[in-house]
């Protein structure tokens, strides 16, 4: 792996008078100033040397990158019609650099034609366009040459991040996750986690009239649970729904939450394999510490995909199976262990497919089977499933406050139209990224709908023998 530049900003070293600061489209903590071309090429060379991107780049860089079939599938380009938003134009910036500097033919052609090679202006352009892409990979469905533009966005961002050109919203969280005291992206201390779990247990007791517990640091359990850690700040109902399902399925003694590491989030998936690898190491390390046998990931698309795809890649001897909570819940329903009352959620509901779990075809039918088990009034958005539209905040862009307007009026515009067209009362989005973005879209576009997690609705409809019925709970919620 190449040298990381992730360490917290240095302090104390006197700096020479700084040249005029470069402008980036978003706030950057401490990017490399001055001459960056050499650093970019060195980082690129190191990545090529210590990774297996080269064969893919060799193949991709032989294509013209001018067919533009991808334009038919990109929700950003469909909204802006700006050539810089064409996926193969964006990918072409990186491939052109690769061709000129890392292939013999490209190097020779550059010499003959007098091409000066990579320029500062091209680095600025990459910093701009790679974060106008939400890495939703919808373009890959239409590319006749099989180019994975999402992968190239990721690689481009990785090289930029080695120059510390990375949005603060992502970097600050990763610094806390990998170097900070709390070790997670939302900086939640373990004692605060326990306090929150106790609060949720009290809420559940009040709701159901029976005690349910979040097991903490229990060794030798089948599942170690990793939701997006932000759920512990923002999504009480999702977390309570998770516990209610596990409790009702009779698995109360088969899972645990570890206080050593309890964050499913892995921003490395968005911008750096180096961060990706180190975050995976934390996850498998915690499962091993507790002698757990599987990683159970909560409602989060990128957390699920990063674990599913990269625990086997970077997990080494500690590799464990990865299960998404919706896969788990469906299994319990199909085994007859979970009963959901079909008379509680009678309003129209729709389902948003998070790109990270749907584009590969991994999780598409499972949530729909769960929804159909208790929501009689389910409607689909069009398109959906593998061909879904991104929420507009994918690829980490949702954490970049500076591009809020872009996410609302460009990247998420088609999604807002899609949600509106269903007329649904509830939009279900089982992903922390999508939840944040879609809530903001609903507010921005003044949509008459409510954004929920799948387990939020399950919490309302689940029937637990000996506990208050869903109808009783609904009445209590209405204050009757």
């Amino acid at each position: 792996m190449s040298q990381t530049t992730l360490a917290p900003p240095e302090t104390g070293t006197p700096e020479p008078p700084a040249p005029a600061k470069r402008k980036y489209p978003w706030y950057v903590i401490k990017p490399r100033e001055g001459e960056r071309v050499k650093a970019f090429l060195e980082a690129f060379a190191a990545i090529l040397r210590y990774s297996n991107y080269k064969p893919a780049l060799d193949q991709y860089s032989r294509s013209s990158m001018k067919c533009s079939s991808c334009t038919t599938n990109c929700p950003v380009y469909a909204t802006t019609h700006d050539p810089r938003d064409i996926p193969c134009y964006r990918s072409g910036l990186l491939l052109k650099t690769y061709r000129r500097h890392f292939t013999v033919g490209g190097w020779f052609a550059a010499k003959v034609s007098g091409d000066p090679g990579l320029t500062e202006a091209e680095i600025d352009e990459m910093a701009d366009v790679f974060y106008r892409c939400t890495a939703c990979k919808r373009c890959t469905l239409e590319c006749p040459l099989g180019i994975d533009h999402g992968l190239l966005t990721h690689l481009g961002r990785w090289i930029l991040s080695e120059l510390r050109i990375v949005p603060k919203g992502l970097e600050i969280s990763v610094i806390e996750q990998l170097h900070g005291e709390t070790g997670n992206t939302s900086a939640i201390p373990a004692h605060a986690l326990k306090d929150t779990l106790e609060f949720l247990e009290e809420e559940l007791l009040e709701m159901f009239g029976i005690p349910m517990h979040y097991p903490v640091d229990e060794p030798d359990r089948e599942f170690v649970f990793f939701p997006a850690v932000s759920d512990y700040l923002l999504e009480p109902e999702t977390l309570m729904g998770n516990l209610a399902v596990i409790h009702a399925a009779g698995d109360a003694g088969n899972w645990t939450i570890g206080t050593g590491y309890f964050d499913g989030i892995n921003y490395g998936l968005f911008y750096s394999d180096h961060v990706l690898e180190r975050t995976i190491a934390k996850l498998v390390g915690e499962v091993a510490r507790l002698r757990g046998r599987k990683a159970l990931i909560g409602e989060c698309g990128h957390a699920s995909r990063s674990a599913k795809e990269f625990v086997p890649v970077f997990g080494g001897d500690l590799t464990v199976p990865v299960v998404n909570i919706m896969e788990y819940t469906l299994r319990q329903i199909e085994a007859g262990k979970i009963v959901l009352d079909p008379n509680i959620i009678t309003e129209k509901v729709t389902y948003h497919d998070p790109c990270n779990i749907a584009r590969s075809g991994w999780i598409i039918d499972q949530p729909r089977k769960i929804i159909r088990a208790f929501c009689p009034n389910f409607v689909e958005m069009e398109p959906h499933g593998r061909n879904n539209l991104c929420c507009g905040g994918g690829g980490g862009t949702v954490s970049v406050d500076e591009i809020h307007e872009f996410r609302m009026s460009v990247a998420g515009r088609m999604k807002a139209d899609q949600m509106r067209a269903t007329g649904a009362k509830y939009v279900i989005a089982p992903c922390a990224n999508c939840k944040k973005q879609l809530k903001e879209l609903i507010e921005y576009h003044k949509l008459d709908t409510k954004l929920v997690g799948l387990h939020d609705l399950i919490l309302k409809a689940i029937v637990i023998p000996g506990a208050k019925s869903p109808a009783e709970r609904a009445a209590a919620e209405r204050g009757e």
Partner: protein
Amino acid sequence: MSEMVKVVNGVTLPLDEDGFLQEPDKWNEQVAEAFASDEGITALTPDHWKVVNYLRDYYLKNKIAPMVRRLCKETGFTVKQIYELFPSGPAKGACKLAGLPKPTGCV
């Protein structure tokens, strides 16, 4: 980043680029009042203080903001009432007034 500051009673307090206090220990009631006028709150009522003090106490104990559900439960306000008190909402309004740092991650 360092250009953004708030001066309260002659004390200069650095803010982050979103206007949150960078050093939460420097908070005092005058700071809350100074933030309030930026938020378009003309005067801090006992209801405002109930929310701000709860957030402040919770933060000092847990080093993190509470869930909104918990804030509502403990203060007795509905989410709608919190928004009426703090037009920018619980996180960008109330937490900022209470001197909490900006939350990070997917929040």
